[in-house]
């Protein structure tokens, strides 16, 4: 199976699609740092190239981690394989009026 998403850091709970991913596909990830195989997940929806896929279940209010760093928090429960984007992730730094 070829890699369809990349993961920046071992601590990350999201990966980035390096090809368009279709709903229902079982896709494999690769750690970008050493190019070692990462987890595989079943995509629950279409994830366009460049968009994030949840590697595991993320609870509402939980920090979303990419590059091994917080990039915001989940505004609702996100299941493994779901698309992670502005509909379920907000900045904790600039989130005026939506905190």
């Amino acid at each position: 199976m070829s890699f369809k998403f990349a993961i920046h850091h071992k601590a990350d709970n999201v990966g980035v699609a390096i090809e368009d991913i279709k709903a229902g596909e079982l896709v494999a990830g690769v750690y970008i740092e050493d190019r070692s195989p990462g987890p595989s997940v079943k995509a629950l929806e279409d994830i366009p190239l460049g968009h994030k896929i949840a590697l595991r279940d993320i609870e509402e209010g939980e920090v979303v981690v990419k590059y091994g760093r917080p990039i915001g928090k989940a505004t609702r429960k996100i299941r493994a394989g779901e698309h992670v984007h502005v509909h379920n992730l907000v900045s904790t730094r600039w989130n005026f009026g939506r905190r």
């Binding site: 760093r69 990039i71 900045s91 730094r93 600039w94």
Partner: protein
């Protein structure tokens, strides 16, 4: 030792292009400047909307940008045009300190037509003199460059920015100077940038600049989604400012940051430096300010595709997004989508960027130059009087 063929200027700095520019000191003088460029082949006009009734630090910054542009090593000679004699003279005098040929013209008491005629007669001579300037072999340590990403997406943070970071490391090892900016766009990664500034006083200066900048944004209390990140960023998969910042800093490479420059600070002489410059994260504003501080070559990574250029600085566009490389192919100079597909290493992608840069430094025109993208956007700090 790597070399390129550049133009050695009167003050010893080295350019990669050889322009005669016509710079208006205010918006009213744009017509005259465009008139000169119409009459005399080889004059690059640099119109802009500012100048009138600006004051204080804001006006100083405009003069810094206009004089810095005229002083840039990519410029052989400059013509400065203003409605008032005193402002034209002031900017021309600042340019003259580099030893570069410069002429100042005022419109008041003459009108546009006479000003255009007088300036054009001088421009003819300046262009003919510039046309005989020769490229000379110089060490790459003479290069001052700048880096910025735009219309970024997550492929920028994954591939094109790390590739540029590898190229930046190589350039700095060879003694070149590289400037980066985008103050607001460090939010979420500002501590990482600060930790790379070894000098405690400079680190404090960086934090002060960062806090002041961001306090202006936060005081507005506006919804930033759609601005930072932009709609293009969001389309490309970037969800938050933190994610954008962490992707952004991938292009800084690994070298220590040894100078921190506020808007008005000139780039101090030196070699092999990575310099932070306080700027907005808007592409044209950053490239304009970096050029004013002496950048002669700009590296621009893009995810969703950005078309920015500059009147006198070649902008090299790099993308790792295969869709963008295909749909905006005429804008892309270096395609590193092989890195996104894991076919090449970061170091190999960096080398691809570097090889292309040497071709541009030696005279190859970039996509932005051929497509006549000449964005010039001075930063404005506050209201005019």
């Amino acid at each position: 030792m790597r070399t390129f063929k550049g133009y050695i200027r009167e003050d010893g700095r080295v350019g990669v292009r050889n322009y005669v520019v016509a710079i208006p000191v205010d918006d009213l003088s744009n017509t005259a400047v465009l008139g000169i460029a119409k009459l005399v082949k080889g004059v690059v006009p640099i119109p802009h909307p500012y100048g009138r009734l600006q004051f204080g630090r804001d006006l100083q910054l405009l003069f810094h940008i206009l004089a810095g542009t005229g002083s840039n090593p990519n410029v052989a000679a400059a013509i400065v045009v203003g409605i008032d004699e005193s402002w034209s003279n002031k900017v021309a005098d600042m340019i003259a300190r580099t030893g570069k040929p410069v002429e100042a013209i005022s419109i008041e008491g003459r009108g546009d037509l006479k000003a255009i005629e007088t300036a054009s007669r001088k421009a003819v001579k300046l262009v003919q003199e510039a046309s005989e300037k020769q490229r000379t072999e110089v060490d790459v340590s003479a290069l001052t460059a700048s880096i910025k990403c735009g219309e970024s997406d997550t492929t920028s943070g994954l591939a094109s920015n790390p590739a540029l970071g590898a190229a930046v490391d190589r350039l700095i090892d060879m003694g070149a100077t590289v400037m980066f900016g985008e103050t607001s766009e460090l939010t979420g990664a500002e501590d990482i940038v600060a930790s790379r500034i070894p000098d405690p006083a400079l680190r404090e200066k960086f934090y002060k600049i960062y806090r002041e900048y961001v306090s202006v944004i936060e005081a507005e209390g506006a919804e930033m989604l759609g601005s930072q990140p932009t709609e293009g960023n969001i389309k490309g998969g970037i969800s938050t400012i933190e994610e954008k910042a962490l992707g952004n800093i991938q292009k800084l490479g690994t070298k220590p940051i040894t100078c921190v420059l506020d808007y008005l600070d000139p780039l101090p002489p030196g070699k092999g430096r990575l310099c932070f410059v306080n700027t907005s994260s808007a592409a044209a504003e950053f490239i304009t300010l970096a050029a004013a501080k002496g950048s002669v070559l700009h590296f621009f990574t893009t995810g969703q595709g950005n078309v920015v250029g500059h009147p006198i600085v070649p902008v090299i566009k790099i993308t790792a997004n295969p869709k963008t490389a295909a749909t905006m192919s005429e804008h892309i100079d270096v395609d590193v989508s092989d890195l996104l597909r894991l076919k090449i290493s970061v170091a190999e992608a960096g080398e691809r960027i570097l090889e292309y840069a040497f071709r541009v430094m030696n005279g190859r025109l970039t996509a932005a130059e051929v497509l006549q993208h000449e964005e010039f956007s001075p930063i404005k700090l506050y209201i005019s009087a």
